[in-house]
């Protein structure tokens, strides 16, 4: 799989809410090779503090050699990125890692996103839509803390033609509760489930998918230094012969059964 280091130009900066941002980066080589579920490593600036790149799943690729990342400001790196201006140049590595495996033809898909975990699912949804199967055969479940966090994305998935169900922690939109609680009513047939979000959420999604006889792919996140499989810093406990998997190279997308879920 080819990987590139590009000087990406920030061509659009959207402030979705006070703390959620979407950046569009012109990176022709990375964009041309990106697959849903893969990620990029971005430097937040030319200085040495913060030192390390930050990993972001690819949220979408657009026709004009542009890719998007979606993030909430959670620390020093995301704060710096949120302050970037159109025309700024960001050093970008990608596309990295193993993305989502394509579902079998004719298989109905269920995409379950929690918080910013919806980011890679939108890229997947776009590609599924282009693959020919009617979008209303698939279902998208989105969870978040508040309406403000979820509503803009509910609209975007809806516009693609998907059936969308929402759950919010405060009940300000859709179901009042956690998104995995929607699954028993939805998984009425052997769906291909794709999920990304907080680890406790994905653990429940994986368990419910298995109980319903569905396959389940999970997109994981962890501390990462290189993103290239060199430093071996991004290990997580594996469920199998190997003791650990490495999120950057073995993943970030795994079959739910490959992961040793924390109890």
């Amino acid at each position: 799989m080819p990987e590139f280091q590009e000087k990406a130009v920030l061509v659009r900066r959207e402030s979705i809410s006070a703390e959620i941002f979407r950046l569009s980066l012109k990176a022709p080589l990375i964009t041309a090779h990106a697959r849903p579920g893969q990620f990029v490593m971005l430097r937040t600036g030319p200085g040495r503090d913060p030192l390390l790149r930050r990993p972001f799943s690819i949220h979408q690729v657009l026709a004009d050699a542009t890719l998007q990342i979606l993030f909430k400001v959670v620390g020093q790196g995301t704060d710096l990125l949120a302050r970037c201006q159109v025309g700024d140049i960001l050093d970008c590595l990608g596309p990295l890692g193993r993305g989502f495996s394509w579902p079998e033809p004719g298989r109905h898909c269920c995409l379950v996103g929690g918080g910013m975990g919806l980011a890679p699912l939108y890229f997947l949804a776009r590609r599924l839509q282009q693959s020919g199967m009617a979008s209303e055969e698939h279902v998208v479940l989105l969870g978040g803390r508040t309406r403000e966090e979820v509503a803009p994305f509910e609209e975007e998935f809806f516009t693609l033609g998907y059936r969308v169900h929402v759950a919010t922690d405060d009940g300000s939109m859709g179901y009042h509760g956690l998104v995995p609680e929607l699954l028993p009513d939805v998984l009425t047939q052997p769906y291909s489930v794709f999920t990304c979000g907080p680890l406790p959420m994905m653990r429940i999604v994986a368990a419910r998918a298995q109980a319903a006889g569905c396959t389940c792919q999970v997109s994981l996140e962890t501390h990462m230094a290189c993103g290239l499989g060199a430093c071996l810093g991004c290990a997580l406990p594996a469920n199998g012969k190997k003791k650990y998997v490495h999120v950057c190279k073995d993943g970030p997308v795994f079959d739910a059964g490959e992961v040793a879920w924390p109890q």
Binding site: P2, R43, L51, D91, H223, A225, L228, A235
Partner: protein, 314 residues
């Protein structure tokens, strides 16, 4: 070694019998087994690739979290995860030795005998140009720490490796000692052809909200720009204390950083953490050294080594 006649500066260096086309090497543990960077770095340009530390048997490494960012640096407690010598020879080396760069294999073990066996096993293979002996990794409770902090033990490990290989032997020194020059002299007497320094400085970080250490291993090795002044001082001290060549390591991210180490007495340098945040670091350092030599009207990079001017300014 005569200067090259095309007018460009001569970058070649020799490190205890290891001849490099230039002084820029990758530091062990930051460049995998080379192939991980093959899409992003022109490996043919590098002086040498030092591979991830190899042990006799595969090691799974430490539980996560294994890395945490700190101010201008990072802490790691990878725990010496590696594929083991058999897999390295069967699956990793055949690809790497086709590259037009020198291959240095970093080795680690739990006992003096194991170091010797490992050296012997690797020395029977084509495509390995030198061994670098890790006596200083701070992450595993048994083994590493004792060898790297006790001069007699360090010398014993060096002798064991020396007697089991015909390859140049580089010993990588730990900075977690009171007198690193003492350690350097000990391994020189043990038969080392060169020393490389520094390995990571032991450190830690705590999450104040959970009151838990940020690394599962509690302590880890600090690397990156934060450690450069310490590394530079140690390279300067060691290069005045031994007669064998010194390889400078520690927070090198730019050509200027690299040149500082050469001026302090290093004959070559290794780029470590910088590979992780900027895969193009080695190549830009190499370009920068060439430019500096031209600006300074030096014909050879060897003229820089140890040329620090310490007396009163003229």
């Amino acid at each position: 070694m005569a200067a090259i006649s095309d007018g460009s500066p001569d970058l070649r260096v020799e490190i205890g019998g290891l001849r490099l086309r230039n002084p820029v090497m990758t530091a062990s543990g930051t460049f995998g087994y080379g192939k991980e960077f093959s899409h992003l770095v022109n490996l043919h340009r590098l002086g040498a690739v030092v591979v991830k530390g190899i042990s006799l048997e595969p090691r799974p490494g430490n539980p996560p979290p294994r890395v945490v960012e700190t101010s201008c640096g990072m802490l790691n407690a990878i725990g010496l995860e590696n594929v083991g010598v058999k897999c390295f020879l069967d699956e990793k080396l055949p690809w790497l030795r086709e590259m037009k760069t020198k291959v240095v294999v970093n080795i680690l073990a739990d006992s003096v005998e194991e170091y010797g066996r490992l050296a012997a096993e690797l020395s029977g293979s084509d495509g390995i140009d030198a061994l670098e002996v890790n006596i200083s990794c701070p992450n595993v409770r048994k083994g590493g720490v004792a060898f790297g902090t006790d001069p007699a033990m360090a010398a014993e490990v060096t002798s064991s490796v020396r007697s089991h290989t015909h390859l140049p032997v580089i010993v990588k020194l730990s900075p977690n000692v009171t007198d690193i020059a003492l350690m350097a002299r000990a391994v020189e007497q043990g038969g080392a052809d060169a020393v490389s320094l520094i390995n990571t400085l032991v450190g830690m970080a705590i999450d104040v909200h959970t009151r838990r250490p940020k690394l599962a291993n509690i302590i880890g090795g600090l690397s990156g720009p934060a450690i450069k002044p310490v590394a530079l001082r140690m390279v300067w001290e060691v290069s005045r204390a031994v007669h064998i060549p010194v390889i400078g390591i520690g927070g090198i991210g730019s050509a200027e950083d690299a040149i500082e180490f050469l001026l302090a007495g290093a004959s070559a340098i290794q780029v470590g953490t910088a590979n992780l945040y900027d895969p193009s670091a080695c190549e830009s350092i190499l370009d920068g050294i060439s430019r500096y030599l031209e600006e300074q009207q030096e014909l050879s990079v060897r003229a820089l080594v140890g040329s620090i001017r310490c007396g009163e300014a003229e």
